[in-house]
Amino acid sequence: MAVIAEDITMAEPVVYLEKLSAFSGMLRIGGLSVSPKETADACQILISLGMDDREQVKTALRTVYAKSREEQLTFDQVFDGFFISEEKMRKQAEEKALQEQQMRENIEALQKMGQAENLTEEQQYAYASLPAEERDRLEKLAQKYQGNSRNPDLYAGFIHSVFAKALLEQQIRMEDAAIGCQATDPELGLLYRDISNFSDTEIPKAISIIQTISRQINGELTAKRNRKGHSGKLEFRRTIRKGLETGGSFYRLHYKKKRGRRKHLVLLCDVSGSMVQFSEFALRFIQNLNQVSDNSKVFLFSEELFEADPFSLQNMDLFRNYVRDCGIYGKGTDLGTALEEICARKPAVLNQSTTLLILSDTKTIDQPRAIEALLKAKCQAGRLILLNPIPQSRWKHIRSIQTFSALCPMVCCSTLQELAAACRRLTC
């Protein structure tokens, strides 16, 4: 759906409103919450500014519709797709027709191979968008094994499994690309990228984003709620002193403040082999969170549990070397043992004012024991949150994630954007 901006004449406010309603609808599809008032505001502003200067219109509408930097990015994409020139629109239509023709040919080829009926429409689309070499490979494989008449069922199953694997990988690639294309701004781009794919040069930028998110998470988790109110006990000294200012009349009684229960963070970070690709992010995140949190404890685990030395947490290089030297880095995962040890510690590490944050991919040995220990830790701690660096789209394929997410809140942190969004939801 595209509208040519040049077609709208300034003399017709109704036309503005009509087109802007459609534009608001597109923004809603893009994920922005747009109210009718914003559409009316946008209309008012366009009437006063006119449509001569495209950049000015874009800035004005962005100011009205987008309410955060992330929303600005979505807005820009929707705007550029909506208000396009006729020439560009025609070119896009031609390209799309060509692409669709190509897709149809590829799907026809798939039908000739006899594979189309085994695949869903989505999988057929994934096949059609495979690179040409990959499609050739699959076609050759199908030709090679299809003619085998000795055990057709066995070979058909084999061919199907090869197809399914290739298509699943392609679907994941397409999902990643769709996420990646949202990020045209290099800084915001980092927010949408899988954290395991950060290059060395991008890490400093990611650090500053991680620092912001750490501060936000710490703020949300340790916020002193219900600060208002008093303990009910009169504070005599202050009441008398304030009363003296008004000639001894106790016009306002002063009460002792409630003793706020300070919330503590306990961070449990998985440094096992399966987490190695996320290790830089995990360590950085844990170190930052520890720095912004006044009172936190950091534990690392793989096959054993290890409490991080507070001194080493002061500096990232020191912390990184410390983790690598402690002997647990890159080993197997035993979440059960780690949680059991934390629960059994004296003096108690976990209590009702503690939030336990576990950063792990949940791929652990002895799952039943891990579940039992997790439930125990959940009872002991005030709050337990699992941060999982595996993209949410893959959760359905990993059984341990399904099991653990049913037991406690699990937050996806595969991209910094998801982590930030999850952090905003923590208050709910």
């Binding site: 502003i45 500014l49 004005a60 987008a66 309410k67 501060r215 208002k228 200012e245 008004t246």
Partner: protein, 296 residues
């Protein structure tokens, strides 16, 4: 007001702006919406409110937010001492009901910034600075003011704005603001200025500083900001301080020594200082403007 008029007034205030900023300010003014400005510390968020006050010839009423800020500091408070004195003075001479009524009148009401801004006869610019530092309860309390331009005082009733202030809210994104607050505001995100704008700011704010030095300072700051290893990027205010300090020290050319000695004005932690020292060993960061003393 037309956008050209706004630009003209901002020019008269000697404020360096770009078309985006002018358009955003125009939209907020035109719609009568509060303007929420976000961006890193030191990019000039607060300055916008000050400049708007000058450009629109309005008073600036500022509310600095902090943790624990409540209505009594932001909106109003009763003048208890005066009320008590009045009770003691008028105890025998006035009808008790009338006395009670008179105690909750304007005479005993202490206006705080928010009330002051909406009861002002002449429209003002209201700056609610660092809203992210205030508690969520305070943020919710602001909603009535921002959307309806009115406040409710239990003893008095609803007070509607005599004049509509131009409200500017700033945030460093230390915590996410509520959707409800965001929805009521026009939004602006400010980034660090580019080389050209930074140089223009330096020249406008420090006209007495040598042009060559200004260019070297601006270039160095741009380089530091683009250096991904630097964690705390230098702000505009720091750039201005640095240029002023260099000028005060009589530096006419930014040599590696001058940069090293005054780096504390732009870099505020030891890790960044170390990175600068490393960078300096390869290149002084002045882009060759220092005359090549160190380039062998």
């Amino acid at each position: 007001m037309k956008i050209e008029e706004l630009k003209q007034k901002m020019d008269e205030s000697h404020y360096i702006y770009d078309d985006t900023l002018a358009t955003v300010l125009f939209v907020a003014l035109q719609l009568g919406r509060p303007l929420l400005i976000e961006g890193a510390a030191g990019v000039g968020k607060t300055e916008i409110a000050k400049v708007m006050a000058t450009a629109l010839d309005r008073d600036l009423v500022r509310l600095q937010c902090y943790e624990g800020l409540d209505e009594s500091k932001a909106l109003y408070e009763w003048n208890y001492q005066k009320q008590l004195l009045s009770i003691q003075v008028n105890m025998g001479s006035r009808d008790s009901e009338e006395l009670t009524r008179s105690l909750f009148s304007d005479e005993y009401l202490l206006e705080r910034p928010l009330l002051q801004s909406i009861r002002s006869e002449k429209p003002v610019v209201l700056l609610i600075d660092e809203i992210d530092k205030a508690d969520e309860e305070f943020e919710a309390f602001l909603l009535e003011l921002l959307s309806e331009m009115q406040v409710t005082i239990p003893e008095v009733g609803t007070i509607r704005a005599k004049s509509v202030p131009f409200v500017v809210l700033t945030s460093n994104r230390a915590r996410p603001l509520s959707e409800a607050l965001r929805r009521r505001c026009a939004y602006l995100y400010i980034q660090y200025p580019d080389m050209e704008k930074e140089l223009a700011i330096l020249k406008a704010k420090l006209p007495h500083v040598d042009d060559q030095l200004c260019a070297q300072v601006a270039l160095t700051v741009q380089k530091l900001r683009s250096n991904e290893a630097i964690l705390k990027k230098p702000s505009i205010a720091e750039t201005l301080d640095w240029a002023a300090a260099l000028d005060a020290l009589g530096v006419r050319e930014l040599t590696p020594d001058a940069l090293r000695q005054t780096a504390g004005f732009i870099l505020k932690n030891s890790e960044d200082m170390e990175i600068l020292a490393e960078t300096q060993s390869k290149d002084c960061g002045c882009g060759g403007h220092c005359g090549g003393h160190h380039h062998g």
